[in-house]
Symmetry: C2
Subunit: 318 residues, 2 copies
Amino acid sequence: MEEILNLLVLTPEEQRRFQDAAPGLSQRFAPGGRPLPGQPELTAEDYARAAVILGNPPAALLGEGCALRWLHTRSAGVDTYTVPGVLPAGAMLSCSTGAYGHSVSEHLLAMLLALMKHLPEYRDQQNQGQWRDLGQARTLEGSQVLVVGAGDLGGSFARLCTALGADTMGIRRDTAQPVTGISALYPMEALDRLLPAADVVCLTLPQSPQTVGLFDRERLLRMKPDAILLNGGRGSVLDCQALAEVLAEGHLWGAGLDVTDPEPLPPEHPLWRQPRALITPHAAGGDHLPDTARAIARIALLALKCYVSGRPLPNRVL
Amino acid sequence: MEEILNLLVLTPEEQRRFQDAAPGLSQRFAPGGRPLPGQPELTAEDYARAAVILGNPPAALLGEGCALRWLHTRSAGVDTYTVPGVLPAGAMLSCSTGAYGHSVSEHLLAMLLALMKHLPEYRDQQNQGQWRDLGQARTLEGSQVLVVGAGDLGGSFARLCTALGADTMGIRRDTAQPVTGISALYPMEALDRLLPAADVVCLTLPQSPQTVGLFDRERLLRMKPDAILLNGGRGSVLDCQALAEVLAEGHLWGAGLDVTDPEPLPPEHPLWRQPRALITPHAAGGDHLPDTARAIARIALLALKCYVSGRPLPNRVL
């Protein structure tokens, strides 16, 4: 009998629904890889034997020899599992795109507004007991926002910006399909032309050979001198060393990063010390909002029902 | 001939419109109290002689003996000028209510989201080169926001919160007049009943005998243990010593203050050192956004036209 290893964090009611969805299959629940009370720890053998894994198993415990036929991740990014040799040949891969839009986009908006109002620098002054006006602030109203990677995260961020009075442009592979909250869509080839027009540039790109290192020194310098840069997708899209340099040279109003390259950012990295940078430790998405776990459960349950009934998997990557 | 002392910061075009609006009167322009290029410094006599002052003159230079018939402030708050003896008997007073809503409310929203996402504490970690997850965040979506003082600032803040998915309640003297962006209005008597129901409490009250000290220790303890408090109106409405104490005791998720009591907050005040407090130096409004100065000019120009033609003054306080 096929075995399902369910690593998702579920309420008792959700767990029951997962069991009901795959009545003919054995399903072991181990939220976040930790056994339920009274059950033994997961072994390497448990991972190797599972035909289906729901969640994010350690990549080192998969590989050609394992029984995996389908992996559905709780994450939206799947780059850990597309590395050759991690999944056995023929295994299917799907992800939880759609679960993180709300959490990540609201975090990015918080970073953007904080930078616009000098909140990081006011916090530094607060720690010195210093009451000092830092002058002109910025407003999102009437700002031109460019979303690079107008998928689930980018579209969600654009909708928040639109609600606060900004105008939005998006870059997307498939420009034929409209994205709610984005006024105009462009292909990646338009990036260098659009960069000098944006007050805010928000990176919400997945990691791929096309995106790694996309925002290098040259592209950063194409941005308006007082533009604000955000990265909420994958750290490798942006050269953090180059960003620290252009900030030190006085370029850009500020930069808000929830993802960096590398992660964690090492203590000696110059970006930590740039007062106009604001860095959070990949904390925008994940399980930081309770409703994200509920959304992940909904998406995975739908995928499991599709798998069991032989229908096409939603959010399929491989 | 009546003299107008115009202390507003104006574009050349706006200055021309002010001149056109009062053709029979002598009007001297001194933006922010500083003389235009080539003109002499303002003297105490200049202030004493003016029948009309547009802007915020030093209160010490007014008083019973001065010629003032009408003061129109660039500020929304007028408590400096309602102190007995500052304005001569019979002088009219009007203000720039309506000019600051956008600037102050966006700043308050920035503080609220920053607190919800732990940005102040992440900034502290950034200064230590520390990459460490601070756990669960909060979301504005579905939150219950209570606006205490649902006037121009409070209504504007409520509209931003509504746009991001929050539900809003407001407290206001005149509950019969609906406020866009606020679902339900209540009189001040309902405050103690509403406080335990709010996830976010935003103070946007003017200073008056009824509001000074309104938020004392007892009212702070009526708030939910994980509620967020904001103050964007007048510092004296909130007991900052009591707030520092309840935060130190672990009450409240956080507090964002753009106004304090006293101002500036002295370097030794315990509130500076509360990590869950975020303090900015009365920088939400004022001239921190360029569009605020334009709004002030529009409001003052309309008021001047009313004064000259003998129509009732808008935003009249005295």
